[in-house]
């Protein structure tokens, strides 16, 4: 029902059909998809009931960050179903509130300790490029990834990348991801999928839940490439199923071939909002409107032009006031804003949409770093709290490095370069002769940021970069 049948860019290779139980009834899924995706494909929107107000809840971020998709799986509560691969015969139930303890005692294997040279948390463009660079220079890192696939958010970027001088310009993100994943596998880099890093102790030990047990990773160096999480905004009914992060909608469509809805309101006209709107049109979804609270469109003109050609209106100085619906979004109320970003009474308009996508910004995922006391600063231009670091991407802890969106919200091309820089910095610290490669990568990055859209980032970086 919610499957994308025809797509101009993607062809979906669906795994063999398997069955699992949802609330006691069999549900058909494809091998290789997650529980949340299988349920959503089958028309199930409500995954849980909230603890105190008993509101229906569904998934929001679809990449294991927000935890809105938690359900009871095989008798265990609080399982994030958006990153859990389906298995034949598993039982899935809606969770009520905070969840009751497991129906029977679960025995876990004993913890395992691993001693590593370099551990990389996250396998998006930053993590992969760091891994490739290290492996090419004779250092084998270990990658920890909480999603079922390598590649982070690059695996859903179907649009072609800009940047005239970059070698990746003109390529689609999905193709860059495939190449990088192939390189990592070819180099024999070891990685854990479906593995959640949950604690970072004294800058030395990473606690990970992997392969159904506790993994303690003691490493000489760490690279945190944990990316970012989608921002929620406050409006009435903002937790109603059918309200998704724009990135979640992109994951559904471009990774799993699922339509997030039939009629969509996109909130935010930055590049993410514009690009995802276009990708929705490609998937055969009706985008009713794109709204933007600022008085002008934030993203590139070409992206806006593409969706306007389809007749999609873009309303600036407009925000979402309310999501209406019983068990899922049935309507959205939007409202005009004055120059002070205050609502103008009487300008409310109801739209018949079943889905509201929020492309209202991203927040760097820094909380693991904070546990070990890495120094942070709040920099609005970079998306939130970000770690202080030098130009070699070393944090206030000398063995801990950062790369990608965790350093501030940017894009895949800068994340790839940051991954290289972090890796070369570590190699250099290990005594390898990579000074030229390191300084080349640093100058390439500053060149990439020299355009008008890099100005905000460069401005923000001044707040957190030390010598």
């Amino acid at each position: 029902m919610r499957e994308i049948s025809k797509h101009p860019v993607l062809s979906f290779e669906r795994g063999k059909r398997i069955k699992f139980l949802f609330e006691g009834s069999p549900v058909t899924a494809y091998q290789g998809e997650t529980v949340a995706m299988a349920l959503y494909r089958n028309g199930i929107d409500v995954f849980s009931e909230s603890p105190k107000l008993h509101r229906p809840r569904g998934m929001f971020c679809a990449i294991g960050k927000c935890s809105s998709c938690m359900m009871r799986v095989n008798g265990v509560p609080n399982v994030r179903t958006c990153i859990l691969p389906v298995r034949e015969g598993m039982t899935v139930e809606r969770q009520k509130g905070l969840g009751e303890k497991p129906s029977k005692a679960v025995k876990y294997p004993p913890p395992v300790i691993r001693e590593e040279k370099v551990a990389i948390v996250g396998s998006g463009p930053a993590g992969l490029s760091a891994a490739i660079t290290l492996a090419e220079n004779g250092v084998a890192p270990l990658i920890i990834e909480q999603n079922p696939r390598l590649g982070g958010q690059l695996i859903k970027q179907t649009h072609k990348f800009f940047g005239s001088e970059r070698e990746n310009a003109g390529k689609r993100g999905i193709d860059i991801a495939s190449e990088m994943i192939e390189s990592v596998k070819k180099a024999g880099v070891e990685f854990y999928l479906n593995s959640t890093a949950f604690g970072f102790y004294e800058g030395k030990t990473l606690g990970v839940f992997a392969e159904n047990k506790l993994l303690k990773i003691r490493s000489k160096y760490f690279i945190f490439a944990t990316g970012a999480a989608e921002k929620m905004i406050p409006f009435e009914g903002n937790d109603l199923p059918g309200v998704f992060g724009a990135g979640a909608a992109q994951t559904m469509m471009n990774v799993y071939g699922i339509k997030p809805g039939e009629n969509v309101l996109m909130v935010g006209a930055g590049n993410v909002g514009l690009i995802v709107s276009y990708q929705m049109l490609q998937a055969g979804i009706n985008v009713k409107a794109v709204i933007e609270a600022a008085p002008k469109i934030g993203g590139y003109f070409v992206h806006a032009a593409k969706i306007r050609r389809f007749g999609v209106p873009i309303y600036t100085s407009t925000t979402i006031k309310k999501a209406i619906g019983e068990r899922r979004v049935e309507k959205a109320v939007i409202v005009s804003l004055n120059k002070k970003f205050e609502e103008i009474p009487g300008t409310e308009k109801a739209l018949d949409v079943d889905t509201i996508c929020l492309a209202t910004g991203l927040i760097p995922s820094v909380s693991l770093l904070a546990q070990s006391g890495v120094r942070m600063k709040y920099v609005s231009a970079l998306g939130g709290y970000v770690p202080l670091r030098n130009k070699y991407l070393r944090t206030s802890l000398p063995n801990v490095y950062v790369a990608g969106d965790i350093t501030g919200i940017e894009e895949a091309s800068t994340a790839i370069l940051e991954g290289e820089i972090a890796a070369y910095s570590i190699l250099s610290d290990m005594g390898k002769d990579v000074e030229k490669e390191l300084s080349d990568a640093i100058s390439e990055l500053s060149e990439l940021r020299s355009g008008p859209f890099g100005a905000k980032i460069v401005f923000g970086m001044k707040e957190v970069q030390y010598e």
């Binding site: 909230s50 603890p51 105190k52 107000l53 509101r55 809840r57 929001f60 294991g64 960050k65 927000c66 935890s67 809105s68 938690m70 265990v76 609080n78 399982v79 994030r80 905070l98 005692a105 679960v106 025995k107 876990y108 294997p109 004993p110 913890p111 395992v112 300790i113 909480q146 959640t196 890093a197 949950f198 604690g199 970072f200 102790y201 606690g207 839940f209 047990k213 506790l214 999480a229 921002k231 929620m232 905004i233 406050p234 409006f235 009435e236 009914g237 903002n238 937790d239 006031k321 309310k322 927040i363 995922s365 909380s367 693991l368 904070a370 546990q371 600063k377 709040y378 609005s380 709290y385």
Partner: protein, 92 residues
């Protein structure tokens, strides 16, 4: 806006009204607000709610984000089964 219909923390069902009421009752730093309202203490450990509360608090007090303290991040940062900590013995 019906602030009771705006959810700030999904894990603990904290609404915008709860946050504003707590701030107006005199609780004006992030840590005390967290203790009062329990946002950020659920399975997701504040990935959605903390940035929202920071914004509301800054707006209510006319301050900048970061000037009213910060929530301490503690393990487990994401939901993991507690049974893994209970298993005895360590293997290499």
């Amino acid at each position: 806006m019906n602030e009771k219909n705006v959810i700030i923390c999904r894990c603990e069902d904290v609404t915008l009204r709860d946050v504003i009421d707590a701030i107006r009752s005199g609780i004006t730093d992030m840590e005390s607000l967290k203790r009062k309202l329990q946002f950020g203490t659920g399975p997701c450990q504040g990935k959605t709610c903390i940035p929202l509360v920071e914004k509301v608090l800054a707006r209510e007090l006319g301050k900048k984000i970061g000037e009213s303290g910060k929530i301490t991040s503690r393990p487990p940062e994401s939901p993991v089964p507690f049974g893994i900590f209970e298993s005895s013995g360590e293997e290499k």
